[in-house]
């Protein structure tokens, strides 16, 4: 429609006709907008919920003018499974497997955050060895999640080959997880008061061998994806966010740190054995897509450092606190535990009324907070950029909707 009208308009202009009549005619049609001499029509495109790069089940309506997106209306809720309500009908231990299904790219940190909240509520002390194992599996999880990010960032930009390389590396982590807990995606490994079982013999050596190999390979991977000319051209300077904006929108995790705010729960509100480990909080300053991508690659390197130290320091001893039954009754009260999950600040708020089941569980998912900023970040950019921006926010819809 718009195109035909445009050509009509141009024809008339060439033949020196009076334009005003035609413009008036076009103005009567509400959809048509006239800017100087180009007449265009806004198009509403449905992005998702079944779209190859919707990161699961994200639905958004893009209003586009040509190739430029003028407005985004996100629509979430396709994966809502009432986890907070379900928690009220399960015992404290029974709810752990449900947390696996929230951020299914990083299940281990979900387990961890929930168990930490319950431990704070019930005042349970976790043995040293268990804390070290938690740190190791937690950081492996961060590496796995960031590898998935790097692979999807590449494939969204059209490079399908790095996708396979990163998934191949992630396979190494999944194999390690399979050895320690028997599962590859939904682990249910971290328990209230510790972990389910000690690491099998040789597992720590395997882990060390894996991270040592990955450390060498990260150099090549950085050049393959982040160092690629076209990749840089697509990512640098796109959808920048300032520190104020990021704080206003409640971003956490890598998207927040990419704007120059050094907020990392592992440092800001230390938990587990992190105060004893040496690592840097990676901060970038431009807050554009490229910084959000680079920060994850750098965090993989920091996680490798942490794992190496944790393996070095791990003491012998029990892996689970004594005297915690499968069903137990914590005293009435409340507990809040939050960890730095690969996506950001993941928090669980658990309220007990003294029975075997929680009175209320409130989950604060970082993906939800980060996703909110998508319209503010990417309105005014190209369609192709919006897809990349969504990718660099790295939301997982199991966690957005819960």
């Amino acid at each position: 429609m718009g195109l035909i009208k445009m050509s009509k308009l141009e024809e008339m202009k060439i033949s020196n006709h009076n334009l005003s009549e035609l413009e008036k005619d076009l103005a009567l049609n509400g959809e048509v907008e006239s800017t100087e001499d180009i007449v265009t029509e806004e198009l509403a495109i449905h992005f998702g919920p079944q779209h190859p790069s919707a990161h699961g089940v994200f639905h958004a309506i893009f209003h586009v003018k040509g190739e430029v997106v003028t407005k985004i209306e996100p629509d979430i809720g396709y994966l809502h499974r009432c986890f907070e309500k379900i928690a009220e009908n399960r015992t404290y231990t029974q709810f752990i497997p449900y947390t696996d299904r929230m951020d299914y790219v990083a299940s281990m940190t979900n387990n961890w955050a929930y168990c930490m909240a319950v431990e704070k509520l019930a005042g349970i002390e976790v043995p040293e060895r268990a804390e070290h194992i938690r740190v190791i599996v937690g950081e492996l999880q961060r590496i796995a999640s960031h590898l998935v990010f790097l692979s999807t960032a590449g494939s969204e930009a059209g490079a399908l080959t790095p996708f396979v390389y990163f998934f191949d590396e992630r396979e190494g982590i999944l194999t390690l997880y399979e050895k320690i807990c028997g599962a590859r995606l939904t682990y249910n490994y971290i328990r209230i008061g510790g972990v389910r079982a000690d690491a099998p013999e040789g597992w720590l050596d395997d882990t060390l061998a894996f991270v040592t190999r990955l450390k060498k390979r990260m150099y090549d991977y950085d050049r393959l994806v982040l160092g690629n000319y076209i990749f840089k051209k697509r990512f640098i300077g796109v959808a920048p966010f300032s520190a104020e904006q990021a704080l206003d929108w409640g971003l956490t995790g890598p998207p927040l740190r990419s704007t120059g705010v050094s907020y990392d729960v592992r440092r800001s509100d230390p938990y587990s054995v992190y105060p004893r480990l040496e690592f840097d909080v990676v901060v970038k300053y431009k807050g554009d897509n490229y910084d959000r991508a680079c920060i994850r690659s750098d965090e993989i390197k920091q996680s490798i450092r942490i794992i190496e130290q944790a393996i070095e320091q791990i003491p012998e001893g029990p892996v689970k606190a004594d005297g915690i039954a499968k069903v137990f009754k914590p005293a009435a009260g409340e507990g809040y535990g939050h960890v730095e999950s690969p996506k950001g600040d993941l928090g669980f708020y658990v309220v007990s009324d003294g029975t075997t089941k929680p009175y209320r569980v409130k989950i604060q998912g970082p993906s939800f907070g980060n996703l909110q900023a998508l319209p503010a970040m990417s309105e005014g950019t190209y369609i192709g950029d919006v897809v990349l921006t969504l990718g660099t926010l790295d939301p997982v819809f199991g966690e957005v909707d819960r």
Partner: protein
């Protein structure tokens, strides 16, 4: 046109009119050409799958036939037996015609390609113009597909494709002018005949410009914007399924094959190679498949540009480069 005197005698002996003879010969050539296209597509797709699998630490197809060599036939049978779906609001005739309009021009390009010394179906004087102009008609089919299928992804994809193909036609055509100047002819067989030194050595800038704009012409990465699966689902052929989808698929690979053969003819010395003259077609085939391998190598390595960057590259980098190449070629020819 194609009838030799012997054939004409034969025809007059049996009372067959000349037009019928011409028609019959044309049909024979069309069928032969189609068979060549089909075989090339089959080899191409198999290679694409295996090469991309190699790049990606995979095996590729392994189960149907020896190392999956019959996989494509299985796929073709599957696509042919699928239901023919029309979107409810589609413009039926445009929707139906689009795959044909895309496919036929891609296939017609082969008419003038000399694959060996004197082995060419129709050696046109303006072969070069023909081979640039005819496949460009295919863009009409893509626009029809986008327009006819009543789908927003499809229309955006087809408009992107139109913008891209039309923009890159210009540097692509200009990059070849240097060759025409050196060879002194626009006849493809004369261009190959004049290549005692391959033109990739005499015209390196032209080769780069030609290769990049060819990638854009055949919608290959890093210029695969018309079908960006991460943005537009499948671009202009989102709504197509079954046999019609296969036609687009087919056209895409025929275009890839045509691009590789044209690069061979223009820059890699065509049928020239060591050994006797009858080995020409073999050299030609080897060079063509080397070119296809290069294109696939690029395809499976690079991410894609954004639409405005694609336009920038075409008009602000490749076009001036092509013009500079013409200038340099002219100056050098004047001095020598």
């Amino acid at each position: 046109m194609l009838s030799s005197t012997k054939l004409l005698e034969f025809a007059s002996n049996y009372g067959i009119p000349v037009w019928a003879l011409d028609g019959a010969i044309a049909i024979v050539f069309a069928v032969v050409l189609f068979a060549i296209c089909a075989i090339s597509v089959i080899i191409n797709v198999y290679l694409l799958r295996k090469i991309s699998a190699d790049f990606q630490l995979r095996y590729g197809p392994m189960h149907v036939g020896w190392h999956g060599s019959l996989q494509l036939f299985a796929d073709a049978i599957k696509l042919l037996t699928k239901e023919d779906i029309f979107p409810s609001n589609a413009d039926r005739w445009i929707f139906r015609l689009a795959p044909v309009v895309t496919f036929v021009p891609a296939y017609l390009g082969f008419l003038v390609l000399p694959i060996g010394h004197g082995i060419v179906i129709q050696d046109l004087n303006v072969g070069l113009l023909y081979i640039l102009a005819i496949p460009a008609i295919g863009v009409a089919g893509i626009i029809m597909a986008g327009f006819g299928s009543y789908n927003k992804y499809a229309i955006i994809g087809s408009l992107r494709s139109a913008a891209q193909m039309v923009s890159y036609e210009v540097p692509r055509a200009l990059s070849i002018i240097g060759i025409v100047m050196i060879a002194g002819s626009a006849k493809l067989s004369s261009i190959v005949g004049a290549q005692h030194v391959w033109y990739i050595i005499l015209q390196p800038i032209a080769f780069v410009v030609f290769l990049v704009s060819t990638l854009a012409e055949i919608n290959s990465t890093p210029f695969d914007l018309p079908e960006t699966e991460s943005e537009l689902v499948n671009g202009y052929y989102t709504e197509y399924s079954g046999m019609r989808f296969m036609f687009f698929f087919f056209a895409e690979y025929v275009a890839l094959f045509a691009a590789a053969t044209l690069t061979t003819v223009l820059f890699l010395g065509g049928w020239h190679g060591p050994g006797p003259e009858y080995l020409g077609p073999i050299w030609f085939t080897i060079k063509t498949f080397a070119m296809i391998w290069v294109i696939m190598w690029i395809k499976w390595t690079l991410p894609r540009f954004r639409i405005d960057q694609v336009m920038d590259l075409g008009w602000k980098v490749l076009l001036p480069l092509a013009l500079i190449n013409v200038l340099i070629t002219g100056l050098v020819m004047m001095i020598i």
